[in-house]
Amino acid sequence: MNWTRREVLLGLGATLCTAIFSKSLTIKVFAQQRTAKKGDILVVIFLRGGCDGLNLLAPVDDKNYIEARGTYTRITDKGNNKGLPLRNALYAGEFRIHAKAAGLKELYDSKVLAVVHACGLKNGTRSHFEAQSLIERGVSEKSTSSVHSGWITRHLHGLKLDGALPAVALGASAPESLLSDVNAISISDVNGFILETYSNYGPIQQAALRKFYSEDSTLMQAGLNTLNALDYVDSKIAKAADGTPLPYKSQSNARYPINTTYDLASSLQMVAQLIKMDVGVQV
C-alpha cells in the first residue's frame, strides 16, 4: 500500500477533533493504530567535514597509488605512516587503514563494518557546499535545478511504510537528503518536543492550532505535520506519574558521552530513544 500524506491526515484528524472541548484532554491516539514495521532501520550520519579518503584507507602496495602520492599523504606498510591491515578477499594486495582508525578496524574485524571505497562524485567540484548538495540529492552531475528531492526521500518512496514517523532528522532543520519529503520530521530534542503552553487554556490553544492549519498549502501542511508529530510523540514517549517525559535509559546501560560542544552523542541517543518508542522510524 502506498503511503500518502492524506492517509496521515485522515488517520489522525478524526480522532482529535472530538477532543477539543472535552474535559479530560489526554489526546487519544489514532483510531487506526499502526504497528511499526519490524525490520532494518537506516541511520544516516553525514560527516560534513573534509576527508582525504586515500589517506584513510588505501591499497598500500598499488604501484599507481605509490607514484601519485608523496610519503606524507600515503599510508604505508612500514615507517611513520604505517597503517593497520584489513583483511579482504577481493584484492590480492594489501589494504590498510590509517593507524589512528584502530576503532574502525576493530568494527571491521568483528564484521559489523563494511567500507565502500571510491564511490562518490565524478564531478571534481572543490566547492564544499556544492559537493554536499550533490551527494544529498543523489546526483553525480551538476544539475542544480532539475533534481529537487533528497535521495532519502526517493528511497522512502520505494519502501512500504507502516509507522507514522518513517523519517526523522535530528537537529534544528531537516537536511537536504530529505528535501521534498512532506512526511519527514525534524526534532532537535525528543523530550522537549512539546507545545509549551502554560496556562489553563493551553489545551484549547493547542486544539485551536488544528483549526488554523487546515488548508492545503505548504505552510498549512507544515503546521499540520507538526501537530500530528506532536501528538504522536506524546502518545509514545515514556512518562513519569505526573506526565513529564522520562530521561532516556538504555537497556544495556550504555552511556552516551554527551557533550555540549558536539551533539553527535545526544543526537544518537535520541535516535535510540525514538527507535525504542516504536513510532515506525525507518530512516
Binding site: S214, D216, L219
Partner: protein, 581 residues
C-alpha cells in the same frame, strides 16, 4: 470588565464589512490559497494592481512596505506611511541618520546582560548583570581581551560579540531606521562570519558590525569588499591571516568567488578545467570561474594579514595590535592569471589583491548574483528574471558610486514586482520575533534565553556554522522543528521566567470595544493587519468568549479574561497568517 483607559495613539477600528475581512472561499492563489501545493506561484505572474483595485486579500502598499523595509508595523506605522506617502517613506529609509528613538538610546544605555563563570586558576569567579560597555570601544581596547597573558574566562573574551547581539535586537525592535537594520542583517548573512569560533573574532566583533557592515550597507560594493577582506573577523574566519606563499590558503579566495561575489552558479569547473576553455576567457571576459582562478587568487592575497604578534619567520615579529597589515615577505609575487587576465610578477604591495577584488566586484556575474539575493530578500523566494536583470543593470551603472547599494535597493522597492509581492515571504525566526514585539508594543529586554530559543529554531545569530549564512527561502524555515519553535518562542514570551517581554495589552484596547468579537478583530488588525480565514477568525473569537456569546463581553473573572487576552494574542501570532510578511 476591561479597564477603560484609552491610548490616543491607537488607530480607530475601521468598520470592516464581513466581506472585506475574510478571504473569499476561492481566494486568489497564494500562500494560503486552496489547491496550491507550491505556495508561491512564480511571483512574476501576479498581475500588478493599483491599491484601489487590489482584491480584498492583498496588503495595502503601506502595510507591505513596513513588512519588507522594516521588521513589521508598530501601532501607527501604517497610518504614518499613508500620510507621508510610500515614495517619501522609501526615501526616508534609504537615507538614515544617526539620531534615533529616545527609547532605543535609553535601552542601549541601561540594559544589562548577565555574565557568569567559575573561578579559574588566576581569576575569581563572578555572576553579575552588566551593561553594554563594548559597543563603541576602539580596537586598541577590544584587542586587550585577546591577550593570552591576561588570564580571564572565555566569557569575558567573547563578551563584545554577545553585546552586539543584544544591541542588534534592540535596534531591530526600536530603531526608526528599519531599512538599515534589515540591510545590516542581510549583509551579515552575505559576508557571514561565525564570531564565536575564535576569541579574536568575538572580541573585535563590534568593529566588524559597526565599521564594516553598517558603514557599508548602503554604500559602494567594491569598497565593502575590500573592507571585509581586511577585517580582523574575516581574516581569521577564513584563514587568510596565516596564508603565506606556497601553498597559499585557499579558504578566503574560494568564498570570495563562491559566496561574496560571482556565486556558485558561475562556478564551471565541471565543464571546463582549463582557463582557455571557459567561454569568453580568451577575450578577457570569462563567463565564470574555475578552480584555477581560486588557486591563483589565493596566491594574490598572500601577505594580507593581521598584526597579532606572530613571528613572520623573515626577521620581523609583528606588533600585537589586531590591525590589518600587509607583509611582503609572505607574498607570492610571481605572475598569475585570474579570470583570463594576466598579472605581471613583482607588482607593488597589495596590487595583486586589489586587482582580484576589482575583477570580481565588477564582473557582470556578481551583479546578477547580488541582485538575485537582494530580490529574494525584498520581493519573493523566486524573483522574476526581468527584475533581477533590471537591478543588475542599476548595480553595474553605479559600480563606482558611493551609494551603489542604495540605488539597487531603491530600484527593487519602486518596482512593480515589489508592489505585487504582498504576503509572499515566510518570516524567518528573527523577523517573526521582532515583528511580534513591535506589534504588541512590548517592553523588550533581550537576553540569553531569547538567543537560545532562536538557536532551537536554527537561527544562530552571529554563530551560523557555515560561511553561507542563513538561507532565505521558505523551505528552510518550515520543517516540523522550526514550526514547533515558532509557536514555543511566542508562548515563552508570555512567561515570567523568560524575562524578555513585559506586555500592557489591556491598556491598548480602545474603551469603546467591549465584545469578544470587537476585541479579537482589534488585535487581528493590530498584529496581522490583513484578512484571515473565516474559520481561524471564528476560532479566535470563540477562544476569547470561552462559552459566552460572541457579541457580549468575554466571560469569567477579571484574571480569567486577562489570561485569555494574553493567550489570544499568542494564538494570533501562531496563525499561518502571522508567519507571512
Amino acid at each position: 470588565m476591561l479597564p477603560h483607559s484609552f491610548d490616543s495613539r491607537n488607530e480607530s477600528l475601521v468598520q470592516l464589512s464581513r466581506r472585506d475581512f475574510f478571504t473569499a472561499s476561492n481566494a486568489v492563489p497564494g500562500i494560503l490559497g486552496t489547491g496550491a501545493s507550491w505556495f508561491l506561484g512564480a511571483c512574476g505572474q501576479v498581475q500588478r494592481t493599483s491599491s484601489t483595485t487590489a482584491h480584498a486579500t492583498s496588503d495595502s502598499l503601506e502595510l507591505h512596505a513596513i513588512n519588507r523595509l522594516a521588521y513589521g508595523p508598530r501601532p501607527g506605522d501604517v497610518e504614518h506611511i499613508k500620510q507621508m506617502g510610500f515614495h517619501a517613506y522609501v526615501e526616508e529609509q534609504l537615507n538614515p541618520q544617526d539620531q534615533d528613538t529616545a527609547i532605543l538610546e535609553d535601552k542601549l544605555k541601561t540594559i544589562k546582560l548577565h555574565i557568569e563563570y567559575e573561578a579559574g586558576d588566576d581569576y575569581p569567579g563572578l555572576s553579575e548583570d552588566r551593561p553594554l560597555i563594548n559597543l563603541n570601544k576602539p580596537l586598541s581596547e577590544l584587542w586587550k581581551l585577546v591577550d593570552p597573558k591576561k588570564k580571564m574566562d572565555w566569557s569575558e573574551r567573547i563578551r563584545p560579540a554577545e553585546e552586539v547581539r543584544i544591541a542588534t535586537w534592540l535596534r531591530a525592535v526600536y530603531s526608526n531606521w528599519q531599512l538599515r537594520e534589515v540591510l545590516t542583517e542581510f549583509w551579515h548573512n552575505h559576508f557571514n562570519v561565525n564570531a564565536f569560533v575564535d576569541e579574536r573574532i568575538a572580541a573585535t566583533w563590534p568593529l566588524y558590525d559597526r565599521e564594516i557592515i553598517r558603514r557599508n550597507c548602503f554604500g559602494n560594493f567594491r569598497q565593502f569588499l575590500e573592507d571585509v577582506a581586511k577585517s580582523t573577523a574575516m581574516q581569521y574566519y577564513l584563514d587568510n591571516a596565516t596564508s603565506r606563499a606556497s601553498p597559499a590558503n585557499e579558504n578566503y579566495a574560494r568564498e570570495l568567488f563562491e559566496l561574496h561575489t560571482l556565486g556558485a552558479e558561475h562556478y564551471f569547473n565541471h565543464f571546463y578545467n582549463r582557463w582557455r576553455n571557459v567561454p569568453g576567457a580568451l577575450e578577457g571576459k570569462p563567463i565564470g570561474y574555475i578552480d584555477q582562478d581560486i588557486y591563483e587568487a589565493s596566491r594574490a592575497f598572500t601577505g594580507w594579514t593581521i598584526n597579532d604578534g606572530t613571528d613572520s619567520g623573515r626577521g620581523e615579529v609583528f606588533p600585537d595590535t589586531g590591525q590589518f597589515r600587509y607583509f611582503e615577505g609572505w607574498h607570492d609575487n610571481y605572475q598569475k592569471r585570474i579570470l583570463g587576465i594576466e598579472f605581471d610578477p613583482n607588482q607593488p604591495p597589495m596590487m595583486d589583491g586589489h586587482k582580484v577584488l576589482d575583477l570580481v566586484a565588477f564582473h557582470p556575474g556578481t551583479a546578477k548574483h547580488i541582485a538575485s539575493k537582494l530580490c529574494r530578500r525584498f520581493v519573493c523566494d523566486n524573483p522574476p528574471v526581468n527584475l533581477i536583470d533590471t537591478v543588475s543593470q542599476v548595480w553595474i551603472t553605479n559600480q563606482n558610486a558611493p551609494d551603489q547599494i542604495k540605488q539597487a535597493v531603491k530600484a527593487i522597492l519602486l518596482s512593480d514586482e515589489f508592489a505585487c509581492s504582498t504576503a509572499q515571504k515566510v518570516k524567518r525566526p528573527f523577523e517573526l520575533v521582532a515583528s511580534f514585539l513591535r506589534a504588541t508594543s512590548a517592553d523588550f529586554t533581550p537576553n540569553q534565553n531569547l538567543i537560545d530559543s532562536l538557536a532551537q529554531m536554527g537561527y544562530r545569530q552571529f554563530d551560523y556554522p557555515a560561511p553561507t549564512g542563513h538561507p532565505d527561502t521558505a523551505e528552510h524555515w518550515l520543517g516540523t522543528n522550526v514550526m514547533l519553535w515558532r509557536w514555543n518562542v511566542i508562548l515563552r514570551m508570555f512567561q515570567e521566567w523568560f524575562g524578555v517581554a513585559v506586555f500592557n495589552l489591556e491598556q491598548q484596547i480602545p474603551a469603546r470595544l467591549r465584545t469578544s468579537r470587537e476585541i479579537t478583530t482589534f488585535w487581528i488588525k493590530r498584529l496581522v493587519g490583513r484578512s484571515i480565514s473565516r474559520e481561524t477568525f471564528n476560532t479566535l473569537v470563540e477562544f476569547l468568549a470561552h462559552g459566552k456569546g460572541l457579541d457580549v463581553s468575554p466571560g469569567g473573572t477579571i484574571d480569567d479574561v486577562k489570561q485569555r487576552l494574553h493567550d489570544l494574542v499568542a494564538l494570533i501570532c501562531m496563525t499561518p497568517e502571522f508567519q507571512l510578511r
